[in-house]
Amino acid sequence: MKTGLITAAQCGLYACRVCGLVSRPAQAMGVLTCARCGQNLYLRRPDSIGRTWAFLIAACILYIPANVLPVMETGSLFGAQTDTIMSGVLYLWTSGSWPLAVIVFFASVTVPILKILALAFLLISVQRRSVWQPRQRTRLYRLVEYVGRWSMLDIYVVTILTALVQIHSLATIRAGPGAVAFGAVVVLTMFAAMEFDPRLIWDPVKEHHA
């Protein structure tokens, strides 16, 4: 990085994460609060790395039941059938709606696993105080934060199908235990992304060139 770039933390300035006010709070005891909006002030989000890891590990564990257990159970005249996330995608693919199959595959299979891997990568690189490609890593973080909510897609599909297909003479659809685990994975990875502080990516950069 060019010299002459200086961060707020280096000047002992606190940037409020709610209203953006940059201030130097008086050195009083206890918690520092923003003069404008009253939010607690921190140089970096407290315990960001630890909390992100906690959410991420929990998401990893639940990722297994989310994919193995059925998210949907269909009961019809011809017997019962269970669907996992993957078999739902395969069904869409074989029935000819392949553009939707691609979207669902992307939203429910690719996004959660890539999110977990990307956050783990960011955390490890931050803990190793890496100075490699900070701009690209920040972009990766931005992508993870933006794309995460789209994984809820499958939860909504199950919701609508269970509500609509309640024709007792013909077929009924019930949500399976996998749906609970899958919903938890989405929520936990969203929390993990929110806890991560992207400024940590840049902290070693300035040290390196100081």
């Binding site: 940037a15 953006g20 201030s23 919903g183 400024r199």
Partner: protein, 202 residues
């Protein structure tokens, strides 16, 4: 306590930069990491408020009327969003039902109410005070309002059902579509910086 209103610290890389006054409709990005720091918006409270009110009406329509119906052998099954949540709840899927209710009913409604209230405080004839904690809430609930994801989910489930039965789109389907559009316009018109500048007298 020293305050520096002419300084801005990038929320993604903490780089200190000087605030610039730029022509309306321009976007200011961090020079180091490229994050969007702020947008210079013209006075857009009036159209923003109009869109927010329209969004409230559309959200009400979307919740009162059935989203889709299914016609099988002369029988017709309709469902509203609330009905769908209830169906999940009755199947002992309380956690999933709550998740769906929060992300598609509660959060969008809360988001809109707060948005309208805060916009009213910015309105020239607005006499309401201290919106600060509400702006904070607004920022934290935004990611949890997922109506657009729900729309995509609807589309996917309709395609799945079309092989078995005829699907009848309901009023709420169109209302949800309109809601997404109007909500984006309303949210774009609102600039949290305006609130802070007023509060701080900066």
């Amino acid at each position: 306590m020293t305050q520096n209103s002419h300084l801005i610290a990038c929320h993604e890389c903490d780089l200190l930069q000087r605030r610039l006054l730029l022509p309306p409709r321009s976007t200011v990005c961090c020079k180091r990491c490229g994050a969007v720091l702020y947008r210079c918006m013209p006075d857009s409270i009036q159209p923003g408020l109009a869109c927010a009110v329209a969004a409230v009406m559309l959200l009400m329509l979307a919740n009162l009327f059935p989203i889709v119906g299914l016609a099988v052998q002369g029988e017709r099954h309709d469902t509203t969003l609330y009905g769908a949540v209830e169906a999940l709840w009755d199947q002992n899927m309380e956690a999933v039902a709550a998740l769906v209710a929060v992300t598609t009913l509660l959060m969008p409604a809360l988001d809109l109410c707060i948005l309208i209230y805060v916009m009213l405080t910015l309105h020239p004839w607005g006499k309401l005070h201290r919106p600060s904690p509400l702006v904070r809430t607004l920022q934290s609930i935004r990611p949890w309002s997922m109506v657009e994801v729900f729309m995509l989910g609807l589309l996917v489930s309709l395609v799945k059902l079309m092989h078995f039965a005829s699907v009848i789109p309901g009023v709420a389907l169109w209302a949800f579509g309109g809601f997404i559009f109007v909500r984006i316009v309303a949210a774009e018109a609102f600039n949290p910086r305006d609130v802070w500048e007023r509060v701080g007298g900066v």
